[in-house]
């Protein structure tokens, strides 16, 4: 499987069919004398910034005091890879929906008719 083409930057769909973000990063497990193994997916936080510009990512992590709200999904929870990546996790319960919830509760939800 070509990780770059088939996994990275793919849309992630949670157990309920809700959009959860994009695969911003892939975690590889390096093993002695054996090919690397995919340990899991990473969504959110500063992960994406590292792929755009390392300096920018370092600055962001210094400001945030960490990686931000990152969701790590272990490989065994990835159900299917096709048009999107389906995972056996609930978006609402994970850090991936932190900003969506924040905008909903603090801004959008406060406007009548939402």
């Amino acid at each position: 499987m070509e990780l770059g083409r088939e996994v990275l930057d793919q849309q992630v769909i949670d157990a309920r069919g809700v959009a959860m973000g994009k695969v911003d990063g892939v975690v590889l497990e390096l093993r002695e004398g054996e090919p690397a193994r995919v340990a899991g997916l990473v969504i959110g936080g500063t992960t994406l910034l590292w792929r755009i510009h390392a300096g920018l990512a370092r600055w962001a992590e210094r400001r945030l005091g960490g990686e931000g709200h990152v969701t790590r999904i272990p490989w065994h929870r990835v159900l299917k890879i096709g048009v999107d990546v389906k995972v056996d996790v609930e978006a609402e319960a994970s850090p991936a929906s932190h900003w969506e919830r924040w905008v909903r509760d603090r801004i959008i939800g406060r406007i009548p008719g939402a």
Partner: protein, 404 residues
């Protein structure tokens, strides 16, 4: 819905959706300054956008990916950011122009200066998106957009020499002021081949859940819709060519443009002009605001959709709300809407290679299109027009800025 009804609806969308602040302004200016001569630019633009719209629809129907989503997947985040920012910036400027267009129509009818209408208009647009569905936006805007057919009525009433109009479908060299001629040609291309049109159409195809069965409809809608739409823009040009050009009137302020319809159609011409301007720009503004939200939400994998309640796609709703507010603020500053419109059209043309290339690459990728990848004609047509437009834009924009 029967296939014929779908095609008819698509046709209406093409007619109603083609004309907006940009094509109105550029067609009127071109007709006033150069008579029929620049009709070929409208025709070329219409052909190019027809190809692009068809591609956007085909991509959505076959791959089930909307364009921004497919772009990030295929190119990775770094190469996705470049067209994303280009399309977003250019589209935002066009959004401000459209809001300006609605405000001008209101100024013409009420006498209250356009900048005071900016925030109320932005609020009205916002309400439409907040409470409406995708179907309402798509069909409502396009049905109302049929009022732009009044330009066709005006043009016919002015009795144009049809063989001259036909002859002007072929490119010709300017008889005077070549720098202005080519700048106008480029602005017309930018007005016709707006990225937001095919990005939005692609998102729409996904919202409407198209599949491979829709490919025939897609081709019919793209081809017929853009042809009829282009014809309306030609009608605007013809009106200007027959009313303004013989009198030596150049269009330097939007206030001059209603005259092209009052001459043939009297007071009703004025009312229809104001209505056309308002409706066409309102519809375009809705589409662009939605498009900006699709771009960001789909590019970053957020929840999105115009058919869901805002709380179920909060960041998506935030993007279109912010876009409308900022667009309104641009017009509140009192910036000349005509200058803003012409400038954003030229900028659109300049950025065409960047905004079009991702779609072109995707359309030739069997991973997304299976055996429905582009034929050589689609590729050639789009590639030629984008590169040509950008090159001419690159030369004429500085000349226009430094010449005036």
């Amino acid at each position: 819905m029967s296939k014929l009804l779908e095609i008819a609806l698509g046709l209406v969308t093409g007619i109603g959706g083609f004309l907006e602040a940009g094509s109105l302004a550029t067609s009127a200016q071109a007709g006033a300054e150069f008579g029929y001569q620049l009709i070929w630019a409208i025709a070329l633009g219409a052909i190019c956008i027809a190809f692009l719209v068809e591609m956007g629809g085909r991509l959505a129907a076959v791959s089930h990916h909307p364009l921004p989503d497919a772009m990030r997947e295929r190119f990775g985040i770094r190469f996705f950011l470049v067209p994303l920012l280009a399309v977003a910036l250019v589209s935002f400027l066009v959004l401000a122009s459209e809001i300006g267009g609605v405000c001008l129509a209101l100024q013409f009818t009420t006498g209250v200066a356009f900048r005071w209408w900016a925030l109320p208009v932005a609020a009205a647009l916002w309400l439409f998106l907040w409470k409406g569905t995708f179907g309402l936006v798509e069909q409502g805007a396009s049905l109302l957009g049929l009022v732009t057919l009044s330009f066709a009525a005006g043009a016919l009433k002015l009795h144009p020499a049809l063989h001259q109009v036909g002859a002007a479908l072929l490119p010709s060299l300017p008889t005077h002021d070549p720098a202005k001629y080519w700048f106008m040609a480029v602005s017309i291309l930018g007005a016709s081949v707006s990225p937001y049109l095919f990005y939005f159409y692609s998102a729409g195809a996904v919202e409407d859940e198209w599949d491979e069965g829709y490919l025939g409809i897609n081709r019919a809608v793209a081809g017929l819709g853009m042809t009829f739409g282009g014809a309306v823009a030609v009608a605007v040009l013809v009106c200007a060519a027959l009313v303004l050009h013989p009198r030596g009137i150049q269009v330097d302020r939007y206030e001059q443009v209603p005259l092209i319809l009052t001459e043939p159609l009297g007071l009703w011409g004025f009312r229809l002009f104001a209505a056309s301007l308002a409706v066409a720009c309102f519809g375009a503004a809705l589409e662009i605001a939605l498009l900006l939200a699709y771009l960001v939400a789909q590019g970053f994998g957020w929840r999105w959709g115009e058919n869901v309640r805002p709380r179920h796609a909060a960041r998506f709703a935030l993007v279109y709300s912010a876009a409308l507010l900022l667009g309104g603020l641009v017009i509140v500053t009192g910036l000349d809407p005509l200058k803003l419109t012409i400038f954003s059209m030229a900028l659109t043309a300049l950025s065409l290679p960047v905004t079009v290339m991702p779609l072109l690459v995707l359309m030739n990728d069997p991973d997304y299109l299976g055996d429905r990848t582009n034929g050589w004609l689609s590729n050639a047509a789009v590639l030629c027009v984008s590169v040509l437009a950008a090159v001419v834009a690159l030369v004429t924009i500085p000349l226009q800025i430094f010449g005036s």
